[in-house]
C-alpha cells in the first residue's frame, strides 16, 4: 500500500454555501521529509451518481481550478504550512438527493509534485442556489422553447388536407389549361429535339 510522507488536510469554514458566496478555508501541509512541490491545486467538482443499485453511469465536472503557490516551491521536513484560500461558490447544479441519483459537491486539494499519486484531501459541501443568481442546470441543458404557444393539428389531418389540395389544384389546372399545356410541351419538345427538313416534315435527331 502506498504511504505518503506528505500529509495534507483541508478545512472549509462552512459545509453549506449559496451560489456567489465566498468559500473560505485552509489547506494544511506537513512533510516527513523535504519535498519539492509547486503548490496545491484546488478543484471544485460536482458529481451525479447513483444512490442505489449497481452499474449506474455517473456524470461529473470541474467548474473551477485554482493553484495555491507554495513559497519557494519547497516543503521542509517537520514543518507545517497552512495555506488559506478563497473561492467563489459555483452557480450550480444544486446539491440533490434523489431516488435514483444524487448530486454532490467536493473541493479537492492535491499537492503538485509532478507525481500523479501525490497526497490529496477532499471536503464535501452542500450547494444551494441563490434565486437572484444565474443558475447552471448541467452540461446537457438546452433551453428548448422560445415560443410559448403550441398548436397541434393531428398529423393525419394535415397529410390528408395537403393531398386533397394538391389533387384539387391539379384538376383545376388541367381543366383550365390542359390544351394549352399540351401544345406548349409539344412545341418545346420540337424546338429542342427536332429539326425541320427542307420539305417541312419533322425529323428527330440527336443534338450535336
Amino acid at each position: 500500500m502506498l504511504r505518503h510522507t506528505t500529509h495534507i488536510t483541508m478545512q472549509l469554514e462552512q459545509s453549506q454555501y449559496q451560489s456567489g458566496d465566498t468559500m473560505r478555508g485552509t489547506v494544511s501541509l506537513f512533510a516527513e521529509k523535504d519535498v519539492r512541490a509547486r503548490g496545491v491545486q484546488l478543484k471544485l467538482r460536482w458529481r451525479a451518481s447513483k444512490t442505489s443499485g449497481a452499474s449506474h453511469h455517473s456524470d461529473e465536472g470541474v467548474v473551477n481550478k485554482v493553484v495555491l503557490e507554495l513559497p519557494g516551491h519547497h516543503l521542509r521536513a517537520g514543518f507545517q504550512r497552512i495555506l488559506p484560500f478563497e473561492l467563489p461558490a459555483p452557480n450550480g447544479p444544486a446539491s440533490y438527493q434523489g431516488s435514483t441519483f444524487e448530486v454532490i459537491w467536493t473541493l479537492q486539494a492535491k499537492l503538485l509534485t509532478g507525481n500523479p499519486l501525490a497526497a490529496s484531501a477532499k471536503a464535501y459541501f452542500e450547494l444551494s442556489p441563490l434565486p437572484t443568481h444565474p443558475y447552471w442546470h448541467g452540461p446537457k441543458f438546452k433551453r428548448h422553447h422560445s415560443r410559448i404557444n403550441l398548436v397541434n393539428i393531428t398529423a393525419t389531418s394535415v397529410v390528408t388536407l395537403i393531398s386533397l389540395l394538391f389533387v384539387l389544384f391539379g384538376l383545376v389546372f388541367i381543366e383550365l389549361f390542359g390544351d394549352e399545356l399540351a401544345g406548349f410541351l409539344i412545341s418545346l419538345f420540337l424546338r429542342f429535339w427536332a429539326v425541320l427538313d427542307s420539305t417541312g416534315n419533322t425529323a428527330l435527331c440527336l443534338p450535336k
Binding site: 452499474s55 453511469h57 435514483t100 437572484t132 442546470h137 446537457k140 441543458f141 404557444n149 398548436v151 389531418s157
Partner: protein, 156 residues
C-alpha cells in the same frame, strides 16, 4: 377521417418552485365528436443510464471454416430508465359530446411544489419537468404531447 385542432398555451416555460403555471387548452373538431377524456399531468422524472455487461458466449454448435465454435465477445448494454418523482394529474372534458367547429376551452392552474427540485441535465443523469397532455376521443388514437418545463431558482 378526423380533423382536430388542439391549442395548448402555457403562461411560461420557466418556473420557480412554488409558482403556478397556467395551461390553456382549446380543442376544435371539424365534425361531431365524442371526447372521452383529456388528461394533463405535471410530471417530474429522474432519467438515468445503466449499463449491464453481456457475458461472452460461445456458439459451439455453429460450424466454422476452422472447425472451431464462434465466440461472441462480452459487451456492455446501455439502458435508460426513468423514475417518476412527482406527478399531479388533472382530468378534463370527461364524456363530452362535441359539435363540429364548437370549441372546447379550459384553463388549468398547475402548481409546482415549494420544494420542487431544479431541472438538471447531464449525459447520464437528468431531472426533467414536463407537462404531458393526453387526449382520448371517439375512434381517434390517443394523442399525446409532452411540453418540457424548466424549474430554476433564478429569476425568469
Amino acid at each position: 377521417m378526423t380533423f382536430t385542432t388542439l391549442i395548448a398555451r402555457l403562461s411560461t416555460h420557466t418556473v420557480n418552485p412554488g409558482d403556478v403555471l397556467t395551461c390553456e387548452l382549446k380543442f376544435v373538431s371539424w365534425r361531431n365528436l365524442s371526447v372521452h377524456r383529456v388528461r394533463v399531468d405535471l410530471h417530474a422524472i429522474e432519467r438515468y443510464t445503466m449499463s449491464s455487461r453481456m457475458p461472452s458466449t460461445s456458439i459451439s454448435s455453429m460450424p466454422t471454416a476452422g472447425g472451431k465454435g464462434r465466440v461472441i465477445p462480452s459487451r456492455t448494454k446501455l439502458t435508460t430508465k426513468t423514475q417518476t418523482v412527482f406527478v399531479r394529474t388533472f382530468r378534463l372534458w370527461e364524456d363530452e359530446k362535441l359539435k363540429a367547429f364548437e370549441p372546447l376551452t379550459a384553463a388549468l392552474e398547475l402548481k409546482f411544489p415549494k420544494d420542487a427540485p431544479y431541472t438538471f441535465a447531464a449525459t447520464n443523469n437528468q431531472l426533467l419537468w414536463r407537462v404531458i397532455i393526453r387526449f382520448y376521443a371517439g375512434a381517434m388514437p390517443i394523442w399525446r404531447k409532452v411540453i418540457p418545463i424548466v424549474v430554476t431558482p433564478a429569476d425568469k
